[in-house]
């Protein structure tokens, strides 16, 4: 029951990873599906740098290429990306 996590820009740089797989089974069940907040909490257990990076103000979360709030429900096969505010153009 994997999802793909993607990290970009300063976040990718701070954590030294750009992509990883996360097993949803550890944090969710059919009765209580995981949301973005639960995924963040699970990733924050990886260490202080992860906690700091993922709880910085203005962090953007995109689920399957759409910006979402932390209450968005995450399902198997989803792609969840974390990144700082965008600065294109």
């Amino acid at each position: 029951m994997n999802i793909t996590i993607k990290l970009f820009a300063a976040l990718r740089e701070a954590l030294g990873e750009s992509e990883l797989q996360l097993d949803l089974a550890e944090i969710a069940s059919d009765a209580s599906p995981a949301d973005v907040a639960a995924v963040k909490a699970a990733l924050a257990n990886r260490g202080t740098d992860w906690r700091e990076a993922l709880y910085q103000p203005n962090l953007v979360h995109a689920l399957n290429h759409k910006v979402v709030f932390t209450d968005a429900v995450v399902s198997e096969g989803d792609e969840l990306a974390f990144f700082p505010p965008m600065t294109g153009g």
């Binding site: 820009a9 203005n58 290429h65 294109g88 153009g89």
Partner: protein
């Protein structure tokens, strides 16, 4: 740019065509910038820019539009972004370009990293860009 313009207007140009091009600045906050690295999230960028163009087309009655955003390593004076809009009336074509630029600045997954003599630095989102973006949401309500 010439090829982009030709592609934008096609065989039957509309009455009004507006374009905007953004280039890499040679300075930022008083310090010299020697190059720009543009990171992006390819799949999401593609979708966001496509949706943005379609939204602009509907909102401003465009007959044609184009958005081209570069990524990777850019030098000072290189173009970063090019948008073009074709409409029946000039107000719509011009507003569509402004709308596309204001929206992609805050909504398209690209991140600028400026390289300078003092080292590299991720560019922070500017408050004015957020406000310019919000203006269009107010108008749409």
């Amino acid at each position: 740019m010439a090829a982009e313009y030709a592609e934008l207007i096609g065989d039957q140009p509309g009455a009004a065509v507006a374009t905007f091009t953004g280039y890499v600045r040679g300075h930022a906050e008083g310090a010299a910038v020697t190059a720009l690295e543009l990171e992006h999230y390819p799949e999401m960028a593609q979708k966001v820019l496509m949706t943005l163009g379609e939204t602009a087309a509907e909102r401003f009655k465009l007959t044609r539009w184009r958005i081209v955003h570069r990524h990777g390593s850019l030098a000072v004076s290189d173009s970063i972004v090019w948008v073009g809009a074709v409409a029946e009336h000039r107000g719509e074509a011009i507003s569509a370009c402004e709308f596309m630029m204001d929206t992609l600045k805050t909504d398209a997954p690209f991140w600028k990293r400026e390289e300078g003599v003092a080292g590299d630095k991720w560019v922070a989102q500017r408050g004015i860009d957020t406000r310019r973006r919000e203006r269009w949401q107010e108008e749409a309500q």
